[in-house]
Amino acid sequence: MLAVFEKSERIRHIGHLDIQRSVQRGLRRSGLPVAYSQGFNPHILITFASALSTGACGKREIMDVTMAEDTDAETFMQRMNRAMPPEMQLTEARPVDDRHPSLMGSLRAAVYDLTIREKDQAEKLISAIPAMMEKEKILTLRKTKTKLAECDIKPLIYALRGRDCHVYATLALTERESCKPQMLLEALKAEAGISEEVRMLVTREALLGENGAGELIPLEKL
């Protein structure tokens, strides 16, 4: 069963492992016929399309639950929404069969809404967008486990625009390469000449995959 769920603003500081555990417990509460792994510490067979980082909310996060018996989407939604806290409700579910391509493998990009808390900062950042996108390379620092490395995020930005206090961005997100919202913000700050801290709320609006025609569409529609 493929399901779309929300991680609300209130619980944005909950890390991915805890979200996973909460979904597992929600499934256990729901009484739905889910499949368990074998072995010592049985857990529900479930995969998440992408880990959402601590501090970010998610509008359409995606998981794939292996069911032990056929279950229709409506029952799944109803039972799960009763079993999940208001902060993590499901908005969609769709039965998929085992041959469905892996979520993680199909993931290409994510749509973000970066809400900038200070109005004048937002204005400056947004007006820096065109100039930044003109550039041949957009260099910013990427944090790896051990070091900071400079990298070019230009090819990783698929769409970028701003309005009011929001910066809307579609950024590459695959198993191999991705651009984190924070990296984009750093690049924008550099362009706008802002050195002080910019407070923002990150909302991941959607996860995108690629269809046969090479278009990016919502992952759950693949």
Partner: protein, 619 residues
């Protein structure tokens, strides 16, 4: 910017934001206006500790169940959050609706350990509630407290308006009803407190005057108004099957200390260990029936999705139908992949086999608490464990594939000698010996024996309530000695710093005056004293000096048997005669039988129909 916005900003900066953000399963309770009475449940320690506590879950459910009352939670923030709250002027907010503590009609603290007392002051202070009862006005909340430490309420008498003594389930609702009536009828604070004082099990300290002898001992504690009872009798719920137990409990997102279903199978303990305050306070033993427990287990599992159920009580091995309970639970929970954690001490062999078949017991560490190193010392404290018992169980465990054993002891017990300390090492050595006696190919590799020695703290309502605690110097010497003798291959020795235990001893048996020390210490910056990184012994000592009080008077003095004890006006049901009798027997090394083998006349037998084991005249 209002405080809620500032709070949101603070969340971005602190180490563990999830401990402040709420929204957990089974916690979205009521809208503020849905119920007229607002109760702020305060756990005076961090979220992770508080959310592991059964009492919180019981009362949270109990108060929210009534249509007319609403309960929200408050916890002690960590230092990083406190710093921001101070700087930004953010009040202490409830987890649920993020309202300041002062907006609640009644706020209730649970008193689980003395070293949380400074957190109580900190929480009130941050929540905008004046610290002392005399400083509070008509608009301020009524401040109540309950839990085991409420049996000696005096150290907190300056700060708490009303204490609930004993089991909370019934008296909590009665107390809330009175406060609701106050709200409806517009009673002044004083009238409300007097009404509360009429309830059985409720102690309102401001309605009692304390006088002192010249030597500093308490002379008397007497009511100063008609409503206050001369002695306040603890509350006892007699039938746990008809007592509220939550069927839905909050499920935290993040891992807390005990992240599982806790099923309270019984309350109280019949063994009568003489150092154990809980064993005295929670008398008599009351069991929940198999039927009730199975029902609760099902309901709780459905409501939480937890993967583990642990059986909770002071001595779960004594529950009368333990094997049936465990078998039935395992049967029901198998398909749900729920494991049952067991009191490891008393698994009969049949059970052990079925355990191994059905759920492959995780071979983690086994825990034993012989408490003392020699038989003589164990007789003194009435701990009915023999060396042979222990070694047999350890042997079984090593044969069964365990390789890790934890042994818990105390030092500083009454009459303790060097021989008793050496006994701890002897026992540890024998445990190691049992491991090596199992043939190499039949035992798990990598033996680990951990010996933890804590420092004895004499507690009220125990036979040792008259005993001194060892001085810091003696404790230090004993620890050095233990380090020396416990230098055994395969054995790790964990010891405790004596300072916290010393403070605990002061407050456990403190009087009303020691409340001033608490306030001073808090003002000097003492908070989160239960945590090594924040405990400031030097500041505590300064506070004692500033108040002209000597901590040794409370901790290290042998009290006269005739002395008025600061908690004498609290009636725990356990008589002074019984405690003195037990004290004498202990000094002679005589043991006292388990109540299940016959009543020992602790005093509770006089409360009709309260103790199921009390047969008349069987002393």
């Amino acid at each position: 910017m209002d405080y809620r916005e500032k709070f949101e900003m603070a969340l971005e900066k602190v180490q563990k934001a999830p401990r402040y953000t709420g929204g957990e399963m089974n916690t979205s309770v009521k809208e503020w206006d849905e119920a007229p009475l607002h109760f702020g449940f305060c756990f005076p320690d961090t979220y992770e500790v508080g959310m592991s506590h059964l009492g919180l879950k019981i009362l949270y459910g109990l108060i929210n169940r009534e249509s007319w009352s609403l309960c929200e939670r408050f916890f002690m923030p960590w230092t990083d959050m406190i710093a921001i709250m101070k700087e930004e002027d953010i009040p202490l907010l409830s987890i649920e609706s993020r309202r300041p503590l002062k907006d609640f009609d009644v706020i209730g603290f649970t008193l689980q350990y003395e070293m949380s007392y400074s957190n109580i002051l900190a929480m009130m202070d941050m929540g905008g509630v004046p610290l002392e009862n005399t400083e509070r006005g008509e608009k301020d909340p009524i401040v109540v407290a309950g839990g085991p430490c409420a049996f000696n309420p005096e150290p907190l008498a300056l700060f708490i308006d009303a204490f609930m003594i004993g089991d909370g389930e019934d008296v909590m609702t009665e107390l809330n009803r009175v406060i609701l009536q106050r709200k409806k009828e517009g009673w002044c604070r004083e009238k409300c407190l007097r009404e509360l004082a009429k309830l059985e099990g409720v102690y309102v300290p401001s309605l009692y005057d304390v006088t002192y002898e010249e030597d500093g001992c308490v002379q008397s504690v007497v009511p100063n108004c008609a409503e206050a009872q001369a002695t306040v009798k603890k509350r006892v719920v007699t039938d746990l099957n008809n007592t509220y137990y939550p069927e839905e409990i909050p499920v935290p997102y993040t891992e807390v200390v005990f992240d599982r279903i806790m099923l309270e199978i019984m309350r109280g303990c019949t063994r009568g260990c003489r150092f154990c305050q809980a064993g005295m306070l929670y008398r008599p033993v009351r069991e929940r029936s198999l039927e009730t427990l199975l029902h609760l287990a099902d309901r709780l599992q459905e409501a939480t999705g937890y993967e583990e159920i642990s059986l909770s009580s002071l001595s779960s091995g004594d529950y009368s139908c333990l094997p049936e309970l465990i078998r039935e639970l395992m049967k029901r929970m198998k398909d749900k992949r729920v494991s049952i954690s067991l009191p490891s001490l008393r698994i009969d062999s049949v059970l052990k086999e079925s355990l191994e078949e059905t759920q492959q017991v995780r071979k983690t560490s086994l825990t034993f608490a012989p408490e003392a190193g020699t038989q003589r010392m164990r007789d003194v404290i009435n701990k009915g464990v023999t060396e042979e018992d222990l070694l047999e169980k350890v042997r079984d465990a090593f044969r069964g594939g365990w390789n890790s054993v934890k042994l818990y002891f105390m030092d500083g017990l009454p009459t303790e000698t060097e021989e008793d300390l050496n006994g701890i090492a002897d026992l540890a050595r024998k445990v190691v010996g049992e491991y090596f006696a199992v043939p190499k190919d039949q035992r798990a590799r990598g033996l680990r024996v951990t010996v933890s020695v804590s420092i004895f703290v004499p507690k009220p309502f125990t036979p040792f309530q008259w005993e001194p605690q060892d001085t810091l110097e003696v404790i230090r010497e004993k620890t050095e000695h233990l380090k020396h003798v416990l230098n055994i291959k395969g054995v790790t020795f964990n010891w405790h710093e004596p300072y916290v235990s010393f403070m605990e001893a002061c407050f456990a048996r403190g009087d009303r005056r020691i409340g001033q020390v608490l306030r001073k210490a808090y003002e000097k910056g003492c908070i989160l004293d239960g945590w090594n990184e924040t405990f400031r012994f030097d500041l505590w000592m300064e506070a004692f000096r500033d108040c002209g009080l000597d901590p040794a008077f409370y901790a290290n003095r042998r009290r006269e048997r005739t002395e008025v004890l600061p908690w004498d006006h609290i009636d725990s049901g356990i008589s002074r005669e019984f405690l003195l009798r037990e004290y004498d027997r202990s000094l002679k090394g005589e043991t006292t039988r388990d109540c299940r083998k016959g009543c020992n006349g602790c005093g509770l037998q006089k409360w009709k129909g309260v103790c199921g084991y009390a047969n008349a005249g069987s002393v």
